[in-house]
């Protein structure tokens, strides 16, 4: 039982980390990014390439991949998504347009990775030794990833609540029109937040690649999980992200060890629907959306 719960918590922490970037992108920049998982896999491939080709530790890899992802996502927002933001008459139209555009982007990125790396599964051995933790044996790489996840989460929370820029970002999330009235540059804040979300998913990709096998076409699974967590937790809500991620991870681990490992996705969806039917705005979302 302890083992299942511990596994579930680690899995949940990973889901929360993966979903953190998406909740920023969707909550603030209003872009429903369906190519989100593809960025995660791209970062995983980058980390794999750095580690196996150049013997660069994934922890150092983070320092290389994350800033690169930030710049890349900023460029994507400016070049690809700004025309859609300008064109959209209202928020709903932008959501549909962004879904369609990032959906096309999914295929472009996925196809490029397939052409570069083929359809095979990749993994590499990093910190792959068992350690004792709370009386249970766990893999060191998972524990390290969880530690970094917690650090990243705390840093992000502090940045959003304690700094001026973070307050501006939260203001845009609440009401982009009113935010303009208090001299916040909304397009700039949206672009930066979208880029920040992209940097976070890249960090998640590097961390995930240390303990999971991945392939060029496994991005969709991560997009799905991230979407479920974001919607369950309430869009744009960091605490909701954490709680929903943990709930998802725990339920998955418990179902896998006590019912049937083949039914984890069914459980994900059941949970997702149950939350939406009871609280349409998510666990921590505001009622008016």
């Amino acid at each position: 039982m302890t083992n299942a719960i511990l596994t579930g918590l680690m899995l949940g922490g990973m889901y929360a980390l993966i979903a953190m970037g998406l909740t920023l992108q969707y909550g603030v920049a209003r872009i429903m990014n369906l190519s989100y998982g593809e960025f995660l896999i791209a970062a995983a491939f980058a980390s794999h390439w750095l580690f196996t080709g150049w013997a660069v530790s994934p922890f150092v890899g983070l320092a290389l991949v994350v800033p690169l992802a930030f710049v890349l996502n900023f460029a994507i927002y400016k070049l690809l998504l700004t025309p859609l933001v300008r064109r959209a008459p209202n928020r709903d139209a932008l959501e549909v347009d962004s879904i369609l555009a990032t959906f096309g982007l999914t295929f472009v990125i996925q196809g490029s990775m397939l052409a570069l790396f083929g359809g095979a599964y990749y993994s590499y051995s990093f910190l792959a030794f068992p350690v004792q933790f709370l009386g249970e044996t766990v893999a060191a790489n998972r524990l390290a990833a969880l530690g970094i996840t917690i650090l990243l989460g705390l840093a992000l929370y502090a940045a959003l609540t304690r700094t001026r820029a973070g307050t501006a970002v939260r203001a845009v999330a609440v009401d982009p029109f009113a935010a303009q009235l208090v001299a916040i540059n909304v397009p700039q804040a949206s672009a930066l937040t979208f880029a920040l979300g992209g940097a976070l998913v890249a960090a998640a990709g590097v961390l995930v690649s240390t303990f999971l096998t991945f392939s060029a076409s496994s991005g969709v699974v991560f997009t799905m999980k991230a979407l479920i967590v974001v919607v369950m937790g309430g869009v744009g809500n960091m605490l909701g992200c954490l709680v929903a991620g943990l709930a998802l991870g725990l339920s998955e681990a418990l179902v896998a060890s006590y019912v049937d490992p083949g039914l984890t996705l069914a459980v994900n969806f059941a949970l997702f629907l149950a939350v939406l039917l009871v609280k349409p705005a998510g666990l921590f979302g505001r009622a008016t959306r």
């Binding site: 064109r87 709903d92 347009d97 959906f103 295929f107 472009v108 196809g111 083949g262 629907l273 959306r289």
Partner: protein, 314 residues
Amino acid sequence: MSARTAGFGAVALAAFALLALVPRLGNPYYLALAISLLQYTVLATAWGMFSGPTRYVSLATTAFFGVGAYTVAVLGEILPWPLVLLIAAALGAVVAAIVGLSTLRLSGVYFVIFTFGLTELIRQLVVWFEVNKSRVLGRYVFVNITQADIYWQLLALTAAVFLLGWLIARSRLGFALRVIGEDETVAKHCGINTTFAKVALFTISATVMTLVGAIMAPRWTYIEPSIAFNAMISFQVLIMALLGGAHRLWGPVLGAVPLTLLFELLSARFPNTFTIILGCIFLLIVYMLPRGVAGLLEKLSTTAGGKTTQRAAA
């Protein structure tokens, strides 16, 4: 008006009669191509029937297609063919009604997310059932259905879908859906039962998709979950309907025909970069043709023929 409708009906009837002769040409390649064209025409039109007026983006086409195909794989050898089709349609309708009732009350984006994963969910459930209960993964389909039979069934379904779409557009349901598409809150205040209207149309559209899956199933002799629930179909149908223009009944055809031909060509010539090209086409459509070919044609016809009326109005 009625004379014009009758004339249009006669032309459509003649066109279908001509199309019914395709298998008589005796060229298996053209027959196969014609089957693909009809398959995507029906799927895209059915997609547009629901998503066009309501503007709910559904990514669940494959889910229903797969349910139809799998029904045939399980029951095809046991029961007579018309009964198999009937059961497939009923199953599709039930699944659609359940999905619709539980998700259509939600906001549009949540609907996209749910349908995005629905195919994967049903696939996992089928795999789980096959592995644990029937102890096989993959089934052989031995039914006495020729390629020409598949073609004629699809043609009949195409005719039925267009007739159905035409009738719905003229009914109270069609009007209700257009109001919902414009503004759902207004629709509610007008006393329209929005949930009923959406679920009804979603079910009709999904039943058609399920039938396409059932009709197409005999094309493969061997079916397994990854073949029947190939997520690519959802994406291709979405692109086709968007390119053609989902706000008109005849719009999706304008996207389905050229894109089916294009995909046929690309997957044969560039199998490795097919996905990249698909994505680029998709992006181009979203940026260049937000209202599809149908929207472009309407714009052209209004600027060409409507100049005088515009001036009069001004």
